[in-house]
């Protein structure tokens, strides 16, 4: 057992660090550092920079452009990205649809879709949830009827993150209603420009437009866009969810956030001193920091065992619960740290303007972040569903 970095690892770390330093566009960095929302263009620009270097689809098999990195190198890379406060990688193409295509797709499909995901030419979104199926995903009703060499798709998808930016959507659709609900589900790729696709925003309690309704009305989809066999969609869905959950905990970002909060406690005034003099608050901060250490090393253990034995399984549910609990605890501590200054609401326009902010510089995003992060224990399979998964798959119940 050895948890320290080798010479080579340290060399790799400094290579990553200097690459980011030299290539991370300053205008994007400035927005990130000041809590100004980044645009689609910003995200694509940054992701393309990584693509060009060959550092985007790092978890893919090398034949499709993956990095071939060790668990340690991936760990270092993610930490450096978070440390430099770069925009989160949008996972729908690279971490979800990509692995499905290289695992279940035909050679033809791999050639057609993978390069554009790897090179960031196409933005993907995820068509899983429906108004009537949240945690009970398999009850989905969006129907795809085979007509000749096409599917005719009808139904509604919801909670579709960043669908407003997307070129393509990967969907779970029902191709057969005769058997039990897990059967008869298929995995279909749909061009968002197809006639009959309509996107409507859902505004969340933090005031942001992140998620959408996607209406599919008699959308014609060529049958070569089906991934895997007709009816194999549920196993593909579970495979994808395990991938989704593994990265969902966001540990590297949390490490940065907690260090920042500790720094904030030394700057925020309290009585004649600073917030750091409030031992009750500091205890809570220290507890979260220790929980974060547990979560980080649990993730590392899991990744190490995945790299020895293949795809992530139910362990990813443990990481999802642990990571999202921490995301919520930390977002709550930020709110507590601010006191009254957590309350003023700043619109996106306010944030972009040059007018002096109300309260401390970092205050504007704190409450929205807390409100927005209520989602993390709900999405990707609610944390209750994750417990069902662990009970069944790990405890054998």
């Amino acid at each position: 057992m050895n948890l320290s970095f080798s010479e080579e690892d340290l060399k790799f770390q400094s290579e990553v660090r200097s690459f980011i330093k030299e290539n991370y566009p300053s205008e994007i960095k400035e927005k990130m550092d000041n809590g100004v929302p980044v645009s689609k263009d910003d995200i694509v620009t940054w992701q393309k920079i990584l693509s060009k270097k060959g550092w985007f689809a790092i978890n893919w098999p090398e034949e499709h452009g993956g990095s071939g990195w060790s668990v340690t190198q991936k760990f270092i890379f993610q930490n450096e990205l978070a440390e430099a406060n770069t925009p989160n990688i949008v996972p729908f193409g690279v971490s979800m649809c990509g692995p499905v295509i290289y695992t279940f797709g035909t050679e033809e499909q791999k050639k057609r879709f993978l390069p554009d995901i790897r090179d960031n030419n196409v933005w993907w979104c995820q068509g899983y949830s429906e108004p009537g199926s949240g945690s009970d995903l398999a009850s989905l009703k969006t129907k795809a009827e085979k007509k000749g060499d096409k599917y005719i798709v009808n139904g509604t998808k919801t909670w579709t993150t960043m669908a407003q930016h997307a070129d393509w959507i990967f969907c779970l659709v029902r191709t057969d209603s005769s058997g039990i609900k897990q059967q008869g589900i298929s995995f279909l790729l749909i061009d968002m420009k197809s006639p009959g696709v309509e996107v409507k925003p859902i505004i969340t309690i933090d005031g942001s437009h992140e998620v959408n309704m996607v209406y599919l009305d008699n959308v014609e989809v060529p049958s070569e866009n089906l991934i895997g066999e007709e009816g194999a969609g549920w196993s593909i869905a579970k495979f994808l969810l395990a991938h989704e959950r593994t990265g969902i905990g966001g540990i590297p970002h949390l490490k940065r956030e907690i260090r920042r909060l500790r720094q904030i406690t030394e700057e925020l005034p309290l009585n004649e001193g600073f917030l750091k003099d409030d031992q009750l608050f500091m205890d809570k901060l220290n507890k979260v920091e220790i929980d974060l250490l547990s979560a980080e090393f649990t993730e590392l253990r899991t990744l190490a065992s995945i790299s020895a034995g293949g795809h992530p399984g139910p362990e990813s549910s443990i990481l999802k619960i642990g990571g999202t609990d921490l995301q919520q605890s930390l977002s709550d501590l930020y709110v507590e740290a601010l006191g009254y200054y957590a309350h003023p609401f700043m619109s996106e326009e306010d944030l972009k303007s040059n007018e002096k902010r109300i309260g401390p510089d970092f205050a504007a995003n704190v409450m929205p972040h807390y409100l927005n992060y209520r989602k993390v224990s709900i999405y990707g399979g609610s944390n209750e569903v994750q417990r069902n998964v662990i009970a069944k798959a790990v405890l054998g119940l």
């Binding site: 057992m1 948890l3 690892d9 090393f297 009970a391 405890l395 119940l397």
Partner: protein
């Protein structure tokens, strides 16, 4: 960076698990703890033959040069079998003190006997007012002609009843809380002025209250340099904290397994308890807490192995988390066993008692959270 243990370490782990399975079932342990000695000298000899007693010592001292990871592996395995033989007081605490500070004569007199299982030791460091603060020492050692005279009181000395010799921390200079001015003395239990009141703890282990009244010692009883023992005491207790955390994590794993098994067999309202979602989610939570705490154990062991600068801080993070996890997992296991959980008859209650005393030993969760904050 990897989490794999070596083949040798795996063999060591297997050896202990096989021993538990074959020779140390729960009823054997129960008979042992009810004897006057409270553990088996024969099993202690077996551990010597296994090489466990020599593990942490250098080759010069007759040992195998084992590190924190080896200690972790031994104690985690011990935890699953609820092994009561006093490994931590003898080997991790006392043996290490002698090995780190002893003169050649002191080592020759003690280590061979300790390692072959013929001598028992105890480390008397806690006082009624000191709680977990190792620097809080009121027991005094005054210069007395050619030696020292000790007076004072030590409480809940682990393995006191069996100990042939005690290592006692005493103040030779400074005031009550000073780190400087603390010295260690090797004291034969038969020495005039030494009195031990021996008793059992709730977890089946044995301990003593130690009174020192004008105990006259010669200079060769001093272990290490006068006034300068504190940093070594701290170092050895840190290792013991890792060790007892590993034991706790072995116990937690076993308690989770026993609870899962029990809920699968016990039926209420026409179905197994394990079918109730309310209970399933609680077992998932205790499963996760065990895994997460084990991650901290591995982290802390590796950092100690590497002598990393935040090793001590990571030990406090670990023991804090062990304190919380032990409370949650212990209490949940009893609750899910229902009435059977509070009977002497089932092993679960005995695991619970040991896990509960471990919450306190070498510092409880609050103590280590404070220490973590201060580092």
């Amino acid at each position: 960076m990897d989490f794999l243990i070596s083949d040798e370490q795996k063999q060591l782990q297997d050896l202990i698990h096989q021993f538990i399975q074959k020779d140390y079932p729960f009823d054997v342990r129960e008979k042992l703890v009810k004897t006057e000695e409270g553990f088996s000298k024969d099993f202690w000899k077996t551990f010597s033959q296994f090489g466990l007693l020599a593990m942490p010592f250098s080759e010069e001292d007759g040992g195998f040069n084992g590190g924190p990871v080896d200690i972790m592996i031994i104690l985690e395995a011990f935890g699953t079998g609820l092994i009561v033989e006093p490994y931590i007081p003898n080997i991790v605490l006392s043996g290490n003190l002698v090995s780190k500070l002893g003169s050649k004569d002191q080592k020759d007199a003690i280590l061979p006997n300790l390692l072959n299982g013929d001598m028992q030791l105890a480390f008397a460091f806690s006082e009624p007012q000191s709680r977990f603060d190792l620097n809080d020492v009121t027991t005094s050692a005054e210069k007395d002609g050619d030696g020292y005279k000790l007076n004072g009181y030590k409480c809940v000395v682990m393995n006191g009843p069996a100990a042939d010799k005690l290592i006692v921390s005493a103040r030779t200079a400074g005031s009550q809380l000073d780190e400087n001015g603390i010295s260690l003395f090797i004291v034969d239990r038969e020495t005039k002025g030494v009195s031990l009141r021996d008793y059992s703890n709730v977890d089946g282990s044995k301990a003593s209250e130690l009174t020192l009244e004008d105990v006259v010692l010669t200079n060769d009883a001093l272990l290490g340099k006068q006034d300068k023992a504190f940093s070594t005491i701290e170092e050895v207790v840190n290792l013991a904290t890792l060790a007892i955390s590993a034991e706790a994590i072995g116990i937690m794993q076993k308690m989770n397994e026993l609870t899962l098994e029990y809920t699968k067999t016990r039926e209420q309202f026409g179905q197994a308890l394990s079918q109730f979602q309310a209970l399933q989610h609680r077992m998932v939570d205790t499963f996760m807490v065990h895994e997460q705490t084990k991650s901290l154990l591995l982290m802390a062991a590796a950092k100690m192995n590497d002598k990393s600068e935040d090793a001590v801080k990571s030990i406090s993070a670990l023991k804090y988390q062990v304190g919380n996890a032990a409370k949650l997992i212990g209490e949940e296991a009893i609750q899910l066993h229902g009435g059977m959980g509070v009977t002497e008859e089932m092993s679960i209650g005995h695991y619970f008692k040991r896990l509960t005393t471990i919450r306190t030993i070498f510092g409880n969760a609050d103590y280590h959270l404070k220490k973590y904050s201060s580092l």
